[in-house]
């Protein structure tokens, strides 16, 4: 338990122990401050999130984990600008987030490719919309192909979503987001609908890309292994209604990480146990408790 305590810090402790230069700036790259959101329902307003505070440094990979219905996706949607916080707000690079934009590209849970466009055209739609003034046609084509190559989709780029597997669709979904050159990449349970083997494969791809591009990533997940394997920080959320950040776990495993080696790694397993304890001891699902 004592070893684990070293890695586990609450959000307030985290700022105290942050590296010196980051404390000096005190303004994180991406900051959620006192974010609360209420949804109107027939029985009156429903408070989904209450006082969510989060600071994320540039290039960090953050996972948000929690039981279903705890408002993980809501946090992501607020950062994306798709939902508006009732109180509080999000600051990205010194500017307040108030509408969706390609600087915060979203990878949706069910890939959300437009079924009437081929993989290439799906990426093209985004690239055209964002870079039409900055790139020539040839540059756009090269950029789209380069990105599809990144996730090994070059062989099937002119196929339609209905003609490829779930894993391939999600690859294209990720590439569409990456091709926007976002400052923050938002992923909403990106591997949730995939089988275990495909999921592992895609997780490796994401880690590989992440080590190249050094994106800032927020990923929603309900998979403990996935969270520990991919993240620099795991944000654990309490159960809703009025969910908030329960604990933040810093994962200080060496990169590149290898899932096979880590399987027997004591540190890895300690992190894993810590998240499991949070989820199944402290935040048992209301239905179970």
């Amino acid at each position: 338990m004592s070893t684990i305590a070293m890695f586990k810090r609450t959000e307030s402790e985290m700022t105290e122990t942050m590296p010196q230069n980051e404390v000096k700036n005190h303004i994180a790259f991406l900051e959620l401050s006192d974010v609360s959101i209420e949804f109107p329902t027939r029985k009156g307003p429903f408070k989904a999130l209450d006082n969510v505070n989060l600071k994320i440094a540039k290039g960090e990979f953050i996972s948000i984990i929690g039981h279903s219905g705890c408002g993980k996706s809501t946090v992501l949607n607020i950062v994306a600008g798709l939902y508006k916080a009732t109180t509080g707000g999000v600051i990205l690079g010194g500017k307040e987030v108030d509408e969706p934009g390609p600087d915060r590209a979203v990878v949706f849970q069910n890939h959300s490719l437009l079924p009437w466009l081929s993989c290439y055209q799906n990426v093209e739609l985004a690239v055209k919309a964002i870079f039409k003034k900055r790139m020539t046609k040839a540059e756009m084509k090269a950029w789209i192909e380069h990105n599809l190559h990144l996730v090994h989709m070059d062989h099937a780029m002119h196929k339609y979503p209905a003609e490829i597997s779930g894993g391939m669709k999600q690859r294209v979904g990720i590439v569409r987001a990456l091709a926007m050159q976002p400052t923050v990449l938002l992923m909403d349970e990106p591997f949730g609908a995939l089988d275990a083997l495909t999921r592992a494969h895609l997780q490796d791809s994401v880690m590989e890309i992440q080590s190249d591009l050094k994106n800032t990533v927020i990923m929603i997940t309900h998979d403990v292994d996935e969270a520990v394997l991919l993240s620099d920080k795991i944000v654990m959320m309490t159960n809703g209604p009025a969910a908030t950040v329960g604990e933040v776990l810093h994962v200080e495993l060496e990169r590149p990480r290898d899932r096979l080696q880590l399987a027997n790694d004591t540190q890895y397993n300690a992190y894993r146990a810590e998240v499991l304890k949070f989820l199944y001891e402290r935040q048992r699902r209301p239905a179970e408790g």
């Binding site: 390609p102 949706f108 959300s112 339609y160």
Partner: protein, 339 residues
């Protein structure tokens, strides 16, 4: 090669021909023959049974115009109608030839002579009426679609707009086309005044009546489709900040195309039914008028001719629907939605 043919057949909605292609390619004959039996054999058996039943029952019914015609009598009248059409065309050709010769002679005598070119005004045959009806239904349907799809998209995007228009739709949708007809006729005669009209008034009356009735299914389906587009697809558009015009043309319309097409199919079907009734009631040229004229005519052939017209109306309705399905398969991404 085989697969391309099969693909085209399926695109064209003629999947019953697929086993024939497979069989000729020597693919598992037993299975293909059983497929052919369900796809081709059974419909033929049903058709023959219907014809026999018809022939048997018809001879028992004595009307004031004689015995109700059976399939053979109807077929003969069909041939007669075709012969009449051909005879009419020959007469027409002869008329124009005579006119040409006459005019040439006149010009030979005096190059400055005034020549008259008259249109042939012969009898309107069955085939001409088919064309009139088809052109009318198509015009009415196109006008209706050009109104219904944009209005439907707007209604689907804006709940306020839909709320505003919804009561109007609910009230006008159930109105019978024939109730519209007197109003349309009066308005058209009052408004469409021209010395040299491009279209006949009767044509405009029929087309507008078709429009009024085939607006609603397309409008409602489009509005429903647009308002129920997967939210994530809309969010994709929001994240890449598409302008609302691009959002509509690149996301909203393609996403709703399958349902819009279902609406269009229903609209065209209703339009075709409405047109025949309107033509009968208003004596506007077309198949409806043909049926009514034959009924008034009351010759011994009339019933057989009317029956042939009824079957033709049915066949054309079927053909129109089939064309819409084929169009849908080509244009829409959801290839499974058309049955």
């Amino acid at each position: 090669m085989k697969n391309t043919i099969i693909n085209y057949l399926e695109m064209a909605g003629m999947s019953w021909l697929v086993p024939v292609v497979r069989l000729s390619a020597g693919e598992n004959p037993r299975e293909q023959i059983s497929e052919m039996f369900t796809g081709i054999g059974l419909p033929i058996i049903a058709l023959v049974a219907f014809l026999l039943l018809w022939a048997g029952a018809a001879s028992e019914v004595k009307t004031s115009l004689g015995v109700l015609p059976g399939p053979i009598a109807v077929w003969e009248q069909g041939e007669n109608l075709w012969q009449e059409y051909k005879a009419e065309r020959i007469k027409e050709q002869a008329f124009y030839e005579r006119q040409d010769v006459r005019n040439k002679k006149k010009l030979e005598k005096n190059p400055d002579a005034e020549i008259k070119v008259r249109d042939y005004t012969g009898r309107v045959t069955f085939i001409d009426q088919i064309w009139t009806s088809l052109i009318t239904v198509f015009t009415g349907f196109v006008i209706a679609s050009l109104i219904a799809i944009p209005v439907g998209v707007v209604c689907g995007l804006s709940r306020n707009m839909y709320g505003a228009i919804s009561p109007l739709i609910q009230i006008f949708k159930p109105v019978s086309p024939l109730a519209w007809l007197p109003i349309v006729t009066m308005v058209v005669s009052a408004v469409y005044v021209s010395d040299n009209p491009m279209f006949e008034k009767s044509f405009i009356n029929s087309a507008i009546t078709v429009t009024l009735c085939s607006l609603w299914p397309t409008l409602i389906n489009t509005a429903m489709a647009v308002s129920s587009i997967d939210k994530d697809l809309i969010n994709v558009g929001r994240v890449i900040r598409l302008s609302w015009v691009t959002q509509i043309f690149k996301i909203a319309i393609p996403a709703s195309l399958p349902m819009i097409f279902t609406g269009l199919r229903i609209s065209l079907g209703i339009g075709w039914m409405v047109l025949i009734a309107a033509e009968m009631l208003a004596q506007n040229p077309g198949l409806g008028k043909f049926v009514w004229d034959e009924f008034q005519n009351g010759s011994s052939d009339s019933l057989a001719r009317i029956m042939f017209a009824v079957l033709t109306i049915g066949m054309i309705g079927f053909l129109l629907d089939w064309i819409m399905i084929a169009l849908q398969r080509v244009l829409s991404h959801d290839k499974n939605s058309c049955h």
